[in-house]
């Protein structure tokens, strides 16, 4: 860590000496161990030794950034000169600020040492479990890895954060087969700070594998109907991120096209929805501790009972638009669960569709979306029936968010986010 601190301090000093009036430096070293399974068999064991520096220089409102992955004197000399040149090329903008000094901190968490044998064992155990319990499933790819990193963030206001963290990732892609009949592929992911439990028992892995086995012989539906869409947690998370990106992200707030830009304090969704960014949630592994702008991360509610409480803005866009920066810049999405059991939620849907994965175009600025419902099932008279194929769904994200039919009591956590199942109305389902 001392090497990183020394190099980071050296970079700041060099940038100031070269003409910057303010500067920021992030520096890290990481080591990754990674097992790969391809086509159902082990194929590769990777060990990566990585490092990098991102330096940013400011002068008279101009900003420039350079990132490199070498720490030698010659590389640093060139990078500093390059960074000053990039900065000088920039345009003055008083909205560029750096974090003030409040309190410096050191973070040390997670699995700081990789248990390589146990990681291999857990990976093989999952492969063996899939072969035994889900014989129709073909594992297209499995990547099981451990990454430990040490990093330092410093700026010329005296801010310094040191961080040492480690965790295990699982990324599993698979499909189910019966002769030439095949399901769509599906993916399960996990982030965890320990290997105490089998991968199979974590997150949604078991349920995902069970679901995909029931999707080998899907039914193509005919005609179209307006019905209810039930989103499992992973698909619900993607839907919410798509809405956030479309309606209230930095870019759309800056250019003024986001529908929620001027709706702070107003209702933007059904009152049953409370959406938070919670890097400190107990279920979240290795949540964000330092924001992209160099502040210590804090949990916050973005939408509370349907009312937009906080815009998820960076410091720059907050300054640019007269708003407040968000208390964290994480992807640690947490949605408050509902009061109904999932079974009751399904029982209340007369005609609808469970969308396991949505494959669609980027929604327009107004939130209109359309795409293919992948890994999906029909809901008929309160029961999940056949898997479906070649089925498109379309609607408007804003309309859906107001037309919330219910949230399940049950939640799932993949180590990054915690969400319940969500049922929305106003979706057009069309088949062949």
């Amino acid at each position: 860590m001392e090497e990183l601190r020394k190099t980071a301090a050296d970079v700041l000093a060099r940038l100031k000496e070269a003409g910057a009036d303010r500067a920021v430096c992030r520096i890290y070293r990481s080591e990754t161990q990674e097992f790969n399974v391809d086509g159902g068999t082990f194929s590769l064991f990777r060990t990566l030794f990585d490092k990098g520096i991102i330096m940013t220089a400011y002068r008279d409102g101009r900003k420039g950034s350079v990132s490199i992955n070498r720490f030698d004197t010659k590389a640093l000399d060139e990078a500093v000169a390059n960074c000053i040149s990039v900065m000088t090329s920039g345009e003055p903008d008083p909205a560029w600020e750096i974090a003030p000094l409040t309190e410096n901190a050191t973070f040390r968490e997670g699995a700081l040492v990789c248990d390589t044998e146990l990681l291999f064992s857990r990976t093989k155990e999952l492969l063996d479990t899939i072969a035994a319990r889900h014989p129709s499933v073909v594992v297209e790819q499995m990547i099981a890895s451990h990454t430990k990193s040490r990093s330092v963030f410093v700026n010329t206001n005296g801010v310094e954060y040191q961080s040492e963290r480690g965790g295990y990732d699982l990324d599993l892609t698979y499909s189910a087969h019966d002769g030439e009949a095949t399901s769509s592929f599906f993916g399960s992911t996990l982030l965890t700070a320990d290997l105490d439990a089998p991968f199979y028992e974590r997150g949604s892995v078991r349920r995902d594998l069970e679901d995909v086995e029931r999707q080998i012989h899907p039914r193509a539906i005919s005609g179209k109907f307006e019905g209810t869409v039930l989103l499992p947690p992973s698909c619900f998370s993607e839907f919410l991120w798509s809405a956030i990106s479309n309606y209230v992200s930095d870019t759309v707030v800056l250019d003024g096209t986001g529908l929620w830009c001027r709706k702070l304090g107003e209702r933007v969704t059904h009152e049953g929805l409370t959406v938070s960014l919670r890097p400190y949630d107990k279920a979240v592994a290795l949540g964000e501790r330092v924001t992209d702008d160099g502040f210590i991360a804090q949990d916050y509610n973005m939408i509370e009972n349907g009312v937009l409480q906080v815009l998820p803005l960076s410091l720059y866009v907050a300054n640019k638009t007269g708003g407040l920066r968000a208390p964290n810049s994480s992807g640690n999405l947490v949605v408050a669960p509902g009061t109904e059991n999932l079974a009751d939620l399904i029982a209340g849907i007369s005609h609808g569709i469970v969308v396991g994965r949505f494959s669609g175009g980027s929604p327009g600025a107004n939130g209109d979306f359309s795409g293919v419902a992948k890994n999906s099932f029909l809901i008929e008279d309160g029961k999940i029936t056949d898997a479906v194929s070649e089925t498109m769904i379309s609607g408007n994200m804003q309309t859906l968010l107001y037309d919330l039919h219910g949230l399940s009591r049950e939640t799932e956590c993949d180590g990054t986010s915690v969400l319940p199942w969500a049922a929305f109305g106003s979706v057009t389902v069309s088949g062949k």
Binding site: D38, G39, G40, T41, F42, L44, F45, R46, T47, L48, F49, D50, G64, S65, V66, S67, I68, N69, R70, S85, V86, M87, S89, G90, E91, D93, F120, V138, V139, I143, T173, S175, H177, E180, T182, S184, F185, K224, T251, D255, G256, T257, Y316, S359, G360, G361, S362, G364, A365, N366, S370, G371, V372, K374, E390, M392, S394, T428, S430, K432
Partner: protein, 463 residues
């Protein structure tokens, strides 16, 4: 410099194992203007060395963010240790790949390595922005992004295959938003540029003005557009979309690792999967007598790159392979094993995948449609290993009684590739290539894709 480094390191290869040693540098440059504000102004460079060691069909890999003999020694030892670990824990027994022929391929000529200063990216974007801001004041927003990226590699293998390559590309992306009469915002974008460094592709902003004017006019039409009528329809796909089809819906299903992972193409080799009018090739470096958009001369396993014929007259005739899968399927590797960064292992990737042109004229194809759509541009595409695909359509038009009609709002099309391709009954005689995007498959990868216009049946989303 990279070349010299690898030469010195060849004696360090582990005896008795197949070894690849690669030194690589990736660069990217980027300037972003949103509404005239410079919100992005950054350059990055990553370089390092990696080794991959194969023992009995299992691989060990290691990389270090450094280019030095010490780093090479470190990755060779770690990759060898990892290969031994895999062989000990899940060995498949004796297994050897056919050796690579000894050869040396040096092709670093994909544009001069001029690496212009950051000022050029900003100034060019500023010039374009000034033109747009002055002329099109009614736009709700405008975003202009200038980018360039390059990857330079030096490779040496224990079989004696070696070489050095460079791929560089640069683009200007332009995105406009405008409000329709009811206040709804619609977006239109376009990309300029292609293979080569920024100063080669962008010399004079005024050369883009006519295309910028055209983009604005098309956005205005979209603001007065209509929703597509959801359901199956006859459409004419532009060359850009047939290129996406070639890449997303067919290309991925015939990557041999995905075939082994359960793709629909596992059961289709030698079978009719498309209309006899459809042929498809993954071009390595040269297509139709000219350089392909992103030429690949040597892959990262050391295999010299050549074209792979995928579909011939509607019949699936080939897969894209690495050395391992080629041996499995009894095919010849053709240079599809590509790695994105120094720290990435080679994966089976496409190069320049295209539907081959036919004989029809686009205007005749449109004239032949009584009630359907002309679909021009997409902002994204995804496909399943079942061949089911989805493209987001950001520019399209009705065809009514053989004539182009009203513009469409954003929509989506979908289908199952090997069924949809059988409905192709007209193929235009002109190719369109695109190369601005990144293909995602564990690692990103710049790829080219192209094709002629196709008349076919697809499902369209809408109301």
């Amino acid at each position: 410099m990279l070349q010299d480094c690898v030469k010195e390191l060849r004696p360090l290869f582990l005896p008795g194992a197949h070894t690849e040693l690669r030194v690589q540098e990736n660069r990217s440059r980027r300037a972003v203007l949103i509404g005239g504000d410079l919100t992005g102004n950054a350059r990055s460079e990553t370089s390092g060395i990696s080794a991959r060691v194969e023992k009995n069909g299992l691989y060990g890999f290691s990389s270090v963010a450094d280019v030095s003999p010490e780093a090479a020694r470190e990755v060779l030892i770690a990759a060898g240790d990892n290969a031994r670990f895999m062989d000990a824990h899940c060995g498949r027994g004796e297994h050897r790949l056919p050796p690579l022929p000894q050869h040396r391929i040096d092709r670093t000529d994909a544009g001069q390595d001029s690496d212009p200063e950051q000022r050029m990216y900003i100034d060019f974007a500023r010039d374009v922005d000034a033109y747009v801001a002055e002329k099109y004041k009614s736009l709700s927003s405008r975003r202009i992004i200038t980018v360039a990226d390059s990857m330079e590699k030096v490779l040496a293998t224990s079989d004696g295959a070696s070489g050095s390559t460079r791929i560089a590309r640069s683009y200007l992306f332009l995105m406009f938003d405008a409000a329709a009469k009811d206040g709804t915002i619609y977006e239109m974008f376009t990309a300029f540029g292609g293979s080569g460094d920024f100063d080669r592709n962008f010399r004079d902003p005024t050369a883009l003005y006519a295309d910028i004017d055209d983009l604005y006019e098309r956005l205005m039409k979209k603001c007065e557009g209509v929703h597509a009528n959801a359901g199956p329809c006859t459409c004419v796909l532009s060359g850009e979309l047939s290129g996406m089809l070639a890449h997303e819906a067919v290309g991925h299903t015939v990557e041999a690792d995905l075939v082994l992972g359960g793709s629909v193409a596992a059961h289709s080799l030698g079978h009719t999967v498309a209309s006899p009018l459809v042929s498809m090739t993954d071009f390595a470096h040269t297509a139709f007598g000219a350089p392909a958009p992103l030429p690949v001369y040597l892959d990262d396993e050391g295999t010299p790159a050549r074209d792979v014929e995928l579909i011939r007259d509607g019949v699936l005739v080939g897969y894209m392979n690495n050395r391992d899968s080629a041996q499995h399927f009894g095919m010849e590797p053709a240079g599809n094993a590509r790695a994105y960064e120094f720290s990435d292992e080679p994966l089976i990737r496409m190069r320049n995948t295209a539907v081959l042109p036919g004989t029809s004229k686009l205007e005749d194809m449109i004239r032949s449609v009584d009630d359907g759509y002309y679909l021009v541009r997409s902002n994204n595409g995804q496909a399943d290993t079942t061949g089911e695909f989805m493209f987001g359509i950001t520019e399209g038009y009705e065809i009514k009684h053989g004539k182009i009609g009203r513009a469409l709002y954003d929509t989506t099309i979908s289908g199952v590739a090997f069924e949809m391709l059988k409905t192709v009954d007209m193929v235009s005689d002109k190719m369109t290539w695109i190369s601005a995007g990144m293909c995602g498959k564990k690692q990103p990868m710049p790829v080219g894709m192209g094709g002629p216009a196709l008349r076919c049946r697809v499902m369209i989303g809408g109301r």
